[in-house]
């Protein structure tokens, strides 16, 4: 029975990882293609569908961590996936005016390269039981460049979207109302920017530690 579960788990995770890999591959391909052919203003429109699908699928990873299907702690996947979903749905999808910004290109390219490496790495391990050492190296080294570029793009996009957020009053609730509740999406966005200040160095340091652990472990083997 235990081996049946293990086999099902392996099958499911293989399918999951390779499917999302294909999604991100599409994102990178379409992003580079539209960047070359039409310019940065059209990148979002080209990648929108696979981007929304592939990024939203990442929400499943929180579930995987919660039910113990994967080892990653929920405490690290939740902020990671949360910030991605916030940028994808809460900023890019909700405020079309920001979609033509050049930072969308850098964001989408940074994300897709990172995810292509990551999902194929896990896809290899689940489906074939191993991953070549260059793949391991890529998985734990690409973040060194891609995290700064990705995070800067995220922060930049939220910042440049602020005037549109304030102007549109979207997702905001005003007083007076029966439940004495108010929500200001504009101030929430500023709060989100605030989280990046301690959050980014913390995440980067965490990845550096992961890198040290993973690469030294592989040397020992």
């Amino acid at each position: 029975m235990a081996t049946l579960f293990a086999a099902l788990r392996r099958l499911y995770l293989s399918i999951y990882n390779w499917t999302v890999f294909i999604g991100w591959f599409q994102v990178l391909f379409l992003a580079l293609k539209s960047l070359k052919e039409s310019g940065h203003e059209h990148v979002y429109n080209a990648v929108e569908k696979p981007l929304l699908l592939a990024q939203s699928a990442a929400a499943l990873e929180i579930l995987h961590g919660l039910i113990g299907l994967v080892r990653s702690p929920v405490s690290s996947t939740l902020p990671q996936v949360g910030s991605r979903l916030y940028l994808t749905w809460g900023i890019l999808w909700s405020f079309p005016e920001i979609r033509t910004h050049i930072l969308v290109s850098s964001l989408v390219i940074s994300w897709s390269i990172t995810e292509i490496i990551r999902y194929s790495f896990f896809g290899m391990k689940e489906a074939f039981g191993f991953a070549p050492s260059w793949h391991l190296w890529l998985r734990y080294s690409s973040f060194l460049v891609l995290y700064p570029t990705g995070i800067s793009s995220e922060v930049g996009l939220v910042y440049f979207a602020l005037p549109y957020i304030k102007g549109s009053e979207k997702y905001s609730v005003r007083m007076p109302n029966k439940w004495n509740f108010s929500l200001d999406y504009f101030y929430l966005a500023i709060l989100a920017l605030g989280f990046y200040v301690p959050g980014s160095p913390h995440l980067y340091r965490y990845m550096l530690a992961q890198r040290k652990r993973a690469l030294s472990k592989s040397k020992k083997e």
């Binding site: 007083m175 029966k178 439940w179 004495n180």
Partner: protein
């Protein structure tokens, strides 16, 4: 030392903002700073745990002699020392975490703070807002009094970092709720709902006070801590009746004031207390297992009948 300097600034800030109570502050502060670095409450002495074992180490009770832990081998014993970090007495911790709500809430009620949020200074104050102020301040005043005169703590101290964490929790939620209840555009509930809310809440606060008295009488005044099976009043049906009454007391406040902020606080506080209640219930069941002459812990609700 660097860490002591931080403490100094921290305590001085509060000296000047709570003049009538600074005597209590100073006494606690002086005790903390003049003691040597590894004062007793900062030390944790345990017996070594066999490698690979997942069991929690046995903590040495300072009231017992070392001989009680020697376990046959009279000539030597290995003891593991852990530095628990700077410690703060529980009354000090509780005092500062409750002080925030006691000061912040009336600030939103009495002072024209809403002009900084873009609202006009003139506002109509509804009766429910005034009663909410009295209810809230009574609650936190009661908590402070209980801290100094009623509670008998199982541990003498708590890590200093808990001061920042707990104060952040109480002060942030205090300000968050105070902002909405005293808001110029606040919409009050019906008079009947307000009376039911505050009435129920007050009864629960009194019940909560009585629960604390019962808990106090379970422990001897010499501060030896320890655990006994609580009994009497609501403790006969629920292990953590003190948390139960506290949760219902906040429910009463929310029924009367009706803010999302208040209900969010209720949910968070309930989940925190439920975690504590589960741990306490488990501990009491383990301690009072009915073996070797010990009484068996009776079947009871943990915290919120009929759910848990």
């Amino acid at each position: 030392m660097k860490e002591k300097k931080g403490n100094l600034l921290f305590f001085f800030f509060f000296f000047f903002s709570c003049r009538p109570l600074w005597l209590i502050c100073r006494r606690q502060f002086t005790k903390e700073v003049t003691a040597k670095k590894f004062y007793p409450s900062r030390q944790r002495l345990t017996l070594p745990v066999p490698p690979g074992s997942k069991e929690r180490p046995v903590v040495l009770n300072y009231k017992k002699g070392l001989k009680d832990y020697c376990d046959g081998n009279q000539n030597n014993i290995t003891v593991v020392f852990k530095d628990l970090g700077p410690q703060v007495s529980y009354p000090t911790l509780f005092f500062f975490e409750y002080l925030g709500p006691l000061i912040l809430y009336p600030t939103f009620y009495y002072f024209p703070v809403y002009q900084f949020f873009g609202y006009k200074v003139e506002r109509v104050i509804h009766p429910v807002q005034t009663y909410a102020l009295y209810y809230w301040c009574f609650h936190y005043f009661k908590r402070i009094m209980e801290t100094f005169f009623i509670h008998r703590f199982s541990h003498a101290t708590s890590p200093l970092s808990n001061v920042f964490r707990n104060c952040a929790y109480y002060w942030t939620f205090g300000a968050y709720i105070a902002y909405y209840v005293n808001h110029p555009l606040y919409t009050p509930v019906s008079d009947l709902q307000m009376k039911i809310g505050f009435g129920f809440g007050l009864i629960c606060q009194l019940a909560n006070f009585y629960c604390h008295i019962i808990l106090k009488n379970l422990r001897s005044p010499d501060g030896s801590g320890g655990y006994q099976i609580p009994s009497g009043f609501l403790f006969n049906i629920v292990t953590c009746a003190n948390y139960t009454t506290e949760i219902y007391q906040w429910l009463g406040f929310n029924i009367a004031t009706q803010t999302v902020a208040g209900y969010v606080f209720l949910v968070v506080a309930t989940s925190i207390m439920t975690n504590w209640a589960l741990a306490k219930h488990r501990r009491l069941k383990k301690l009072f297992d009915g073996k070797e002459g010990r009484p068996k812990y009776p079947r009871r609700w943990v915290i919120l009948p009929p759910f848990l």
